[in-house]
Symmetry: D4
Subunit: 225 residues, 8 copies
């Protein structure tokens, strides 16, 4: 066998958490189970917290949990060394509400929820409030107002963040998903719609990027270990 891969190294960015508030996150696809495990263990040994790996396959999860038995597994997301509390004063940790338009958006929301909890944030969910039944959203307006921040997840026509941003003054991040019938075009439709929103103040992360939305919230709430 050849050795084109020789000289390959994994260079962990151990100071990213101190620098940016968000430590390096391990992205599963394209890595071997051993690479994922080594990255997670390396970050733990470097004292990083929280340690998060996303989009892991069952084999990658097995490799990690064999080495890190108390890692928490939420679907394809693995978390170790979760922060205990992210309160910024002494009171309760900030609370984030993750809002979804439909059931097909739940997997993306789950990734956001697992990430938020890894950072010690309190999380609530408001589900199935797509704009085709706008009264369901209106009924939950007070819940949305109570949150410190919102993550709004929607596929198809991607209209939910616009409706939410026009209803309450809670800060929010929008996540387009690749869910949908018809002309969703793997999330491009929702991405374009959300960045063209007629409601000012909506900002958007990439398609299906639940972890990215959670990190944006962590930045804005200035969560610190």
């Amino acid at each position: 066998m050849g050795d084109a891969g020789e000289g390959r190294e994994i260079v962990l960015d151990g100071t990213r958490g101190a620098r940016t508030g968000i430590p390096e996150i391990v992205y599963g696809p394209g890595k071997t189970p051993t690479q994922v495990r080594d990255a997670v263990v390396g970050l733990i040994e470097a004292g990083v917290a929280p340690v998060i790996a996303t989009r892991c396959s069952p084999a990658q999860i097995a490799a990690v949990t064999a080495a890190v038995p108390d890692a928490r597994v939420d679907g394809p997301t693995v978390v170790a060394r979760a922060l205990a509390a992210a309160a910024d004063g002494g009171g309760a940790a900030p609370g984030v509400t993750v809002v979804t338009a439909g059931t097909a958006d739940q997997a993306v929301a789950d990734e956001a929820v697992a990430t938020l909890r890894a950072f010690g944030l309190r999380v609530e969910r408001v589900s199935d409030v797509g704009v085709a039944g706008i009264h369901r959203l209106l009924d939950r307006a007070d819940d949305l107002r109570r949150a410190d921040a919102l993550i709004v997840v929607a596929g198809m026509e991607g209209a939910l963040p616009t409706a939410v941003a026009g209803l309450v003054d809670t800060p929010l991040v929008a996540v387009p998903t690749s869910a949908g019938y018809g002309s969703s075009f793997e999330g491009i439709t929702a991405l374009a719609a959300m960045t063209a929103s007629c409601a000012p103040g909506v900002s958007v992360v990439g398609v299906d990027n639940g972890v990215g939305a959670a990190c944006a919230v962590v930045r804005w709430l200035r969560v610190r270990p």
Copy 2:
């Protein structure tokens, strides 16, 4: 001068109205003022009604009105031989409400309105009810329910038809417009969003195609002279 254009003819489709309920409509762009005038006059002489020309330049309008003094001009739309009433029973003509998300969608709505009136339909307008202020839409729900049909016009993220379709049971046609800030991409975003709508029962015409939406309504309401 050469004569590549020799042999060019304008072949009017004089029986289209009888066949499809919607006579041939003259589309201004790419025609000389003389061509537009001749097409309009030709349709009038063939007994067609209504005779509609859209997207006409001032020079095209001048050419038409010089030849057809009683043509009605609405912005770039010219109408001759409008139907007097489209009532299908003996009662009042059906009423169509044209709904717009914002002021920038008005020009497209105007084209739809002029076309609907040419076919003898009653028209009302509900303006500025974009989903960023959803209460404005809710306040007008009874008006929307009273209509026989709706045309819903929106640019940007194109969410309004979805919200309307989830609110009332009035039949509707959606029109994406090229209006908008940010990532509207000349209406492609709204077109994709509307055809990906999570509210079943929304059908859509092309970008900025107000006349097409009006014609779809005319078909469904089975307007006849």
Copy 3:
């Protein structure tokens, strides 16, 4: 195991049928068999009719039919509590003709047909009348004229709705499909072509969206239980 999914709920929109004429429809992809079954049962228990689930996998269908033995299964579509008749006067239910360009468009047409029947509409089919053999379409013109509404389904170059709309005055909804050789680009070509139709009065739903087209017809015909 973690619990990012905790707090997930399914919030059925039980009043959507009363509000919009079209009850909530269960979309299979992305849901577990249990979620599909619970949604269907929940809607039945809420008194909704008809109850429709689309794009269901065999496992989802098995879960539903175990709980709802008299549900009707048409390919991947499941229907319970179909409406008995949708006549709006006392006479026969309205009749809808579903027109397809080629055999590859049949699966999308089947979804439309199952949905129309769930709403108690009479359905006929006209198949294989693509514009490459235009005489086949002309031969069926009287059949098309007799219908109360048409659903026109086509992939590839998507020309059929334009030809139909220029031939008869029956109202229609067009459905682009992802079928096709060459440059069909998963239905985008047909979607663009149909929304750019030179025949005014054609409105369009998303790619492969048979259920959406049927719901648009239900809206326009103002079917009521």
Copy 4:
């Protein structure tokens, strides 16, 4: 002034006609009037025939006609040294029919016509036979069958070549145009639709490329001076 342009040369491909049957054609945009004139004169002096310049501005045309007084001007197309006859046997020159869907497609058709005539072909036109009024096309079927070849020009949904190819056995080239309302997307819709045609045997040139379609016909008919 600097001299980045120094060393620029125009290298005419004087043998292209002998090699490929189609001499080099001068494309106006991006050239100065002097460059267009010099290219035309250079080709004439090299004995090339026909000499064709397309998409010329008025200033470019003026420069050419000042130097070549007997050049023939057809809109933005200029032709010198047109072939007298392209008969391949001794009989009449082959006849080509240029078919257009609507008036907005005429400018592209004119470019094709001027090019065909430059090669000595007989040309007829069939206009305004878009598929929204399919009977107009059927009425002209015998005319289409009589031609040695067809050029079929259409914008919007681009359905006309498919209908023609399903109607007659005359060879044809399709030309998408950038004309159109709604979702024509500058001709991309028609280009995609034509290359996805359900009628086998349709081949297509680029958007608005009338001269290219004419040259394809010249190749197939094996026109020779």
Copy 5:
């Protein structure tokens, strides 16, 4: 089981061959083996010739050959009742040369070859003459000139038809393929490049559409049984 598919019919277009010179062709994908077999048998019984089915799966091929033992199978293409000779005068049948840029384009070329032979045409092949080794193409120029028509198949940057069209005067049809490294984008790059060719006279069929290219040649050569 339900019956949404009831009323489905297969309507063969038995007169298409007489009308257009090219009989209906059966497209495999999306059909059951029984549907493919019935369509082939139906066309044979209607006296159609040749009968061609493309892109057939092994199960579809097995179904057809069980019913039509002497059908000829070329990869996924099945042919019955091939024409014996397509000579247009009494001499030899016209000869078509199928040119490919690389080995990855061969499957598309095979589909073209099988179709051409079904119509009784003589076929030769020139392979591996991509423009990155232009001398290989130049070495075969005389072979290309001898043909009555060319089909030029290329993926990647799609440059080969342009080079061929600039080299010889033989008529040609270009076929973009989805083959390629880098930025081929499933054939869109080659399709765009071929329709933007700087060599006038190149016309193009859809991506991977070998059968369509062959049919275009059949039309131009006016093959008749």
Copy 6:
């Protein structure tokens, strides 16, 4: 003249500020000078603050300033009734730093700055720190850390937000601009790049949407009059 525009109304959303923290903003394009003026005056009379109009033409600005002499004009942005201070405790107003990659991004940044100041926020600018000269960015890291929030504006390859998000822990919103040479594709490249950022925590608004980015910051900082 006709009256398709009759019945047009401008319905201001006077309670949007109270509801969402961000009052309705007047978007200039597509409105007459009178419409812009009336909208601005209407919002002022409704007690809204701040009142902002963006992308105004000189004629629109003239109409507004004639009616509202103390309106502040910043390029094409007009502001009336700016908030005096947005401090959320009693201390200084929060400070936002607007970061630009190059001079061509300045106009978008100006829109953001004018909007931030209208809400009473303190603004600083860091200019010309594109990643092609990364040391310029590193030199300003302390300035970036001192801010309460960042708006990062970049065109071309859109890499700056990623670099900033990896350098400091200050919350940020990214704005793609349509500036750029080469393959910027009117900002689509930067939009896609920013939403695909490898730095978690970057959220993005639409192309050139400076006002939207400012409003997102206002939401997150929970500015209140």
Copy 7:
């Protein structure tokens, strides 16, 4: 007047030349004449060489030349403090040949030529060698082999770099241009084609980016003042 633009600064990257071999280049569009002049003068005063400004309007050029009378102007490109010679040994400066497919590609080539000369490189041009007349390219093969590097500029189908890379072993950079008839799509077709080239070793810069191609050559030839 307001002051959103206050605080704007121009931060020149004076050490970029020392760091990367290529000093900061001033890009005209989106800057005022004063900004362009100040940037050019600032770079001169900082001792940078060469100083290059691209895509300048006549007003920008006038502003620069008023302040820097000996600046050299080549179309829209302005150069000051050009390097005298870039020889890397003591012999002649390296020679670069700029190859163009057609006349419409000349403006992009001119930008490359002016930039190369600013760095003291010798430049030759080979023009009008598009692949539609491949013999013109073959005739110049020795000229191409003699060069130290090639810049190959082409629009339309963008095939020229592939042909050149298959013909000679001289290193090359390809530049797609937005020139072209048909389906060039503003250079996207050529960009995609060049990056999908079947000839290994072709690398590509952005659409119309002549200056970028020249800078790539400067890097590879390791030109130093």
Copy 8:
């Protein structure tokens, strides 16, 4: 069985190495194991060096190594007759550093590395220096400066080549990869971003085209056996 594939030939371009410095490379996908083996053996027998086959399946690799036991296998890349040394003077072979943004880009980098080594170049790797942790890149600046050339591989937002090009003066080729979360769109985002780079002198190969990047370096370094 039919014989559409008859007449197929593999025409090796045995002189390409002498002509262009880079011999023909065998591309695995779309070929049978036998075809790959025959192509490799044929090139070896023609005296070509090096002989490289890329993207080979295990079956293709098995076929090659059975026939060529000493072929070197690096993942899906197979190399025979690698060059011993590519030194251009007598000293050491030039050294190329392959830089990757993240682990997901490694497979593309491996293809580049195996190709570079086949040509006898020395290779080093710098891994995991994505711009989200820019200090990791700065720490390696001296390593980058020491190289004779760089290949910079990145997916997602594709910013790394811009940062590298602004940091050091080493010549470089950029490779976009299809790796990434969010809105990477299979590498199109990175491709567009790299060709829109604000750092002049970056040239780019196609998506995931590691072998193409290596060949570009081989050309520029003028490696000769």
